[in-house]
């Protein structure tokens, strides 16, 4: 407390009697704060990718257009978008599997062309496939060698990650006998084998049953608690809503929005939903029920917020029993569908106008 008072007196004196000094102090603090902030884990600037296609490869198809985004250290970032939106293209560009037509990308402060930073990255490819003549333990041992681990350390790490992904009993079976879900687990195991700072997962939930999805969710949460940065792409929106600090929505090769799952869709309620019971013989019942939808024994109607009390009055007059009144907030799914709908409408308009 004493220190705070002393600080306040100091700043008061400085601001009143020597304003230039005060600015200098503020600037110095701002600069030092920026310097101590770690660089973004992933940063892209105007990243674009076009693929040649057609018989002589003369036509160009744009898969990603001017992607500029940042993933901060220690956050779980969900990359959302429908099929063909550009999610995998972005991830492949980050991992150096394909090369950008324009723009730049940096991971952990280094350009993506620098493979030395792969020591700190774990990557699960989409629909992963590994050498099917090897067992899971052999594949993991093979990948562990690139990180320079000793034989003993590799053995330890392999057993540990196989246990993490619930494959400890299947570790000695050749991968050609694995199911899609098991391969996905091997993919996850090799991504976290070397304890990376950043984990990039392309569709980690695909091919998994509900139990597997739950396990992957738990692994992601464990990684988050261990301070790792995680970027994962998905089109399962509930996963993104429960796991992510921030999400980026991509559609048609363009980034449409970035933010916390709640803020990106807007917290503004779009209306109110009233659930009620009403005998069909009641006064004005037909008029009210014409606007309602039935679910089981109950009915539900949606009204805008300003009309809530009028609607409740009408229901009370008709002798309805009110079960619940709930605010309707847009979900990530609504936002997502709206974006995709806009894209399709745009594509249809272009098709109709013949452009």
């Amino acid at each position: 407390m004493k220190k705070r008072i002393a600080d306040a007196l100091f700043y008061f004196r400085v601001y009143v009697f020597a304003p230039q000094t005060a600015w200098a102090i503020d600037d110095a603090k701002r600069i030092s704060k920026n310097e101590t902030m770690t660089a973004p884990a992933i940063e892209t600037q105007n990243l674009s990718k076009q693929y040649p296609h057609g018989f002589l490869h003369l036509k160009k198809k744009t898969s990603l257009q001017g992607l500029t985004m940042q993933v901060q250290s220690g956050e779980v970032f969900g990359f959302l978008g429908p099929n063909g939106a550009g999610k995998s293209t972005t991830i492949k560009l980050l991992m150096g599997i394909i090369f950008p037509t324009a723009g730049t990308a940096q991971i952990l402060g280094k350009p993506v062309s620098d493979v030395s930073m792969h020591r700190d990255i774990g990557y699960l490819p989409e629909q992963p496939y590994f050498y099917d003549y090897l067992t899971a333990a052999e594949v993991l041992d093979y990948f562990g060698r690139f990180h320079g681990f000793s034989a003993a350390e590799r053995g330890e790490r392999v057993q540990k990650v196989l246990k993490t992904v619930a494959l400890e009993t299947a570790g000695k079976i050749q991968l050609r006998k694995y199911s899609k879900g098991m391969l996905q687990r091997v993919g996850l195991a090799q991504a976290i084998l070397h304890d990376p700072k950043l984990v990039i997962l392309d569709e980690p939930m695909s091919g998994l049953d509900p139990v597997g999805r739950r396990e992957v969710r738990d692994i992601i949460l464990e990684l988050k608690n261990a301070g790792k940065t995680i970027l994962f792409s998905t089109h399962i929106l509930s996963d993104a809503e429960t796991l992510c600090d921030r999400v980026g929505v991509i559609a048609g090769g363009k980034l449409r929005g970035v933010g916390a799952p709640g803020s990106i869709v807007g917290v503004q309620a779009t209306g109110m939903e009233i659930v009620f019971e009403l005998a069909e013989s009641a006064v004005n019942a037909q008029q009210i029920l014409a606007k309602a939808t039935r679910s089981g024994m109950n009915f539900r109607i949606s009204v805008i917020e300003g009309e809530l009390y009028a609607a409740l009055g009408e229901l009370r007059a008709a002798g309805a029993k009110i079960i619940s009144v709930t605010q309707i907030k847009p979900t990530l799914e609504d936002y997502f569908l709206e974006l995709v709908g806009q894209d399709r409408a745009q594509a249809a308009a272009i098709e109709v106008s013949g452009k």
Binding site: I97, F99, Q127, P128, F130, Y133, L134, Y142, F146
Partner: protein, 258 residues
């Protein structure tokens, strides 16, 4: 270097587990059949037939493995996307390519060594003795191995930028063309305009000369092979492979994988 060795070791393991070395059973059966049959023909030429047939079989089987496995090594990894997880490790693409090449050359060396042992056993069976002049057969086998290394490098180069089928055709085509480079050079002496002559001369030096590796006649008849040819072929293979692999690494390093 160690990362190249990691890939090479796994490539060898892949070849073994994908039963590439099963061809040795076929070779062994061929040698047994040959040894039995050759015993029934004239004493003078039985050794010649045995060595010629053995070396031809070693060369042909090796070529088939070099072309098909050489093309498949990279293209299969691209098609099945096994490369995605591998390239996410601290590994340069050129290191991967060199590792694959080294692994396949190691596979071919083991395979060729096993076939060479089979051939010498058959020779022993037919002639009842291995004499000093038979070392020329070893030189011929060494040349076959050099030739196969060059074929692998070419197969890998083509598989970096075209489909597997075309890569097989290009490698096979180039091998056949490379066998007849001496004829291409001799064409210069006939009536051709100077530009064509220059182009053919350029082509005859640019294309890999596989004719240099063919010493089967000398080996079959026990004639010695000059040391200068051994040195020349060794250096030629090293330089040509380095050149082909450099181009392959350059192409592969900028290739968009699917």
């Amino acid at each position: 270097m160690s990362r190249i060795l990691i890939v090479a070791r796994n490539t060898f393991r892949e070849a073994v587990r994908d039963r590439v070395l099963y061809n040795l059973v076929f070779f062994a059966l061929l040698m047994i059949a040959c040894a039995v049959l050759v015993g029934q023909i004239s004493m003078d030429i039985e050794s010649v037939v045995m060595v010629s047939l053995g070396l031809s079989a070693i060369s042909l089987i090796g070529l088939l493995i070099a072309i098909f496995t050489g093309v498949g090594m990279v293209s299969k990894e691209i098609d099945k996307r096994t490369l995605h997880a591998v390239l996410a490790k601290p590994l340069h693409r050129w290191e991967f390519l060199l590792g694959k090449f080294s692994g396949l050359v190691l596979t071919l060396t083991v395979n060729t060594a096993a076939m060479a042992a089979g051939l010498f056993l058959a020779m022993l069976f037919v002639k009842h003795a291995i004499v000093g002049s038979d070392t020329v057969v070893l030189v011929a086998i060494y040349f076959i191995l050099l030739k196969l290394s060059l074929v692998v490098a070419l197969a890998m180069l083509f598989s970096c930028f075209t489909s597997p089928l075309l890569a097989i055709l290009f490698t096979g085509g180039l091998y056949l063309a490379g066998l007849f480079l001496a004829e291409l050079r001799n064409l210069q002496t006939t009536q051709l305009n100077p530009q064509t002559q220059k182009f053919l001369a350029f082509l005859s030096y640019l294309l890999p000369n596989f004719g240099n590796y063919d010493v089967m006649g000398a080996a079959a008849h026990g004639r010695s092979i000059p040391a200068s040819l051994i040195l020349h072929n060794t250096l030629y293979t090293i330089l040509y492979c380095a050149m082909v692999l450099s181009v392959a690494a350059l192409v592969f390093s900028r290739k968009d994988l699917k």
